[in-house]
């Protein structure tokens, strides 16, 4: 998924909270917790960048943290909270 363009699903809303954000999918009624403010930035900015790696770099995620961010994004993709975006 790393070289693909992604975006937050249209049916998902993010609500900022001190720990990160609540993510709610209005279609599946699933509530998830993004337990890291950095991850919230990444998810919000996915749509601005060509792929995941570029987004992580743009947000300034240190390379030592990138593996767990990628794993977190993979889980969000599995739940369809983030979805592939066609390249512009």
């Amino acid at each position: 998924m790393l070289d693909q363009a992604w975006t937050l699903s249209d049916s998902v809303a993010l609500r900022p909270e001190p720990f990160g954000a609540l993510a709610y999918d209005f279609t599946t009624r699933r509530l998830s917790f993004l337990k890291d403010p950095g991850l919230v930035d990444v998810v919000r900015q996915l749509r601005e960048h060509a792929d995941v790696t570029e987004t992580l770099d743009a947000v300034g995620v240190p390379s030592s943290d990138q593996p767990r961010f990628r794993a977190a994004l993979q889980r969000l993709a599995d739940q369809h909270m983030i979805v592939p975006r066609s390249p512009q």
Partner: protein, 404 residues
């Protein structure tokens, strides 16, 4: 560290929850005190409408505020919410404003047409209340004809294609033995079973002693919940049972004023749905709006402070049960920093309960109610065969036949 969790592990995130969030996760909105029934254990002592209830316009303004605060869904109850003439309009308004609705109903008004309407609406979920898997167990608690009405409502929802609606059961001494039967009823209707705890709030305080599950039933319930796992919903109701062993699915903390609150029909905001009492009243939405109450009410600020476990702190199970339910302690006259009245370690026996608090509101019906609870002594099962208790017995027959 896990950066994403559907159900958070009880570590960091729970600490955030205890500190309180910018908006509630689980907001219950009792839309009216009016109800066509008179259930013996009603948490909100409902029956008669309150003349001061929020107007339609106030309700839509409140929904606008929920939308601004990104409260993604609300649990609507009552009373019976469907008796409010503007209920269906408010439902549509909420959904159109990105506030999903799950509403509780006794099912009397869930006709075929309404079921089809609900099945066709996104962001709406329905919770049908039933407190016995048979009419014999249900109707003494919820009222004559209420078992049939709930089953009919569920039939209508299933036939309309509504998926995963909820069958909601309050666990009592009378129905703990029916958990498998409830599960079957839910499965047969394509519904999910939701079990919640009987609370001594409202009229529930009057029947608590007769109806709350006995110690061995608490164990039976815990084992059943562990065996059935996340397929059965509990609304985090039973965290006091976690002291039996491993924690049950859920957050396992008292969310009152932290992630949970209640808005009542007149716009008063309470710390939780089980604590409609002036001691847990944080403010009113009529006085500066909901967000102001949620973020600044003195009561909520104090609930978000670290709580003392009092006498419970020395118990090995304290980390699992956290001293149990604040409302259950309050309404049974027990100290808030002591054990839960249903403490599974038996510690409640060592606490002297004070007087039960005087209710601060009562909207119970004063006159007759068509579907009143069936007048039998709670706990008395009907005879299994007519002959066991019929005045016309086999002995009479034998006597007439020239026997004894």
């Amino acid at each position: 560290m896990t950066a994403v969790a559907e159900r958070p592990a009880p570590n960091r995130l729970v600490d955030h929850f205890e500190f309180g969030l910018d908006a509630p996760i689980c907001l219950t909105w009792e839309l009216t005190y009016a109800c066509n029934l008179a259930c013996v254990h009603c948490l909100s002592s409902s029956g008669r409408r309150d003349p001061r209830e929020l107007t339609t316009q106030e309700c839509t303004e409140l929904i606008d505020e929920f939308e601004r605060m990104q409260i993604f869904y609300v649990n609507i109850g009552g009373g019976e919410p469907t008796v409010r003439p503007d209920f269906w309009d408010l439902l549509d308004y909420a959904v159109a404003h990105h506030v999903g609705v799950k509403f509780s109903t006794n099912g009397f008004r869930i006709t075929r047409d309404r079921a089809e309407q609900l099945a066709a609406t996104d962001y709406v979920d329905v919770q049908v209340s039933l407190d016995g898997a048979t009419a014999e167990v249900n109707d003494p608690i919820r009222g004559a004809g209420t078992y049939d009405a709930a089953i009919r409502a569920m039939d209508n929802l299933r036939d309309a294609g509504m998926k995963d609606f909820k069958l909601s059961v309050v666990c009592t001494r009378e129905n703990i033995s029916q958990l498998d039967d409830f599960k079957k009823i839910a499965d047969d209707h394509g519904a999910q079973l939701r079990l919640t705890r009987l609370r001594p709030a409202g009229r529930g305080a009057d029947v608590w002693e007769q109806l709350h599950p006995l110690p061995h039933q608490q164990r039976e319930l815990y084992d059943w919940l562990v065996a059935n796992g996340e397929r059965v919903l509990t609304g985090d109701s039973f965290f006091h049972l976690s002291a039996f062993g491993s924690a049950l699915p859920g957050l396992n903390l008292c969310g009152a004023g932290r992630v949970v609150c209640l808005v009542d029909p007149v716009g008063d905001v309470y710390a939780c749905p089980f604590a409609i009492h002036e001691n847990f009243l944080a403010g009113s939405v009529r006085d500066g709006g909901f967000q102001h109450v949620w973020r600044h009410a003195e009561l909520f600020r104090s609930l978000r402070e670290p709580q003392t476990g009092g006498a419970c702190t020395s118990c090995a199970a304290y980390d699992s049960c956290r001293g149990g339910c604040m409302a259950a302690k309050f309404f049974t006259g027990m100290p808030l920093d002591g054990p839960d009245p249903e403490c599974v370690k038996g510690n409640a026996e060592y606490v002297t309960a004070g007087d039960r608090p005087t209710p601060s509101q009562d909207h119970s019906h004063k006159g007759t109610v068509r579907n009143a609870p069936v007048p039998v002594t709670i706990g008395r099962r009907p005879p299994t065969t007519l002959c066991n208790e019929s005045p016309v017995t086999a002995a009479d027959f034998a006597s007439a036949a020239g026997g004894v």
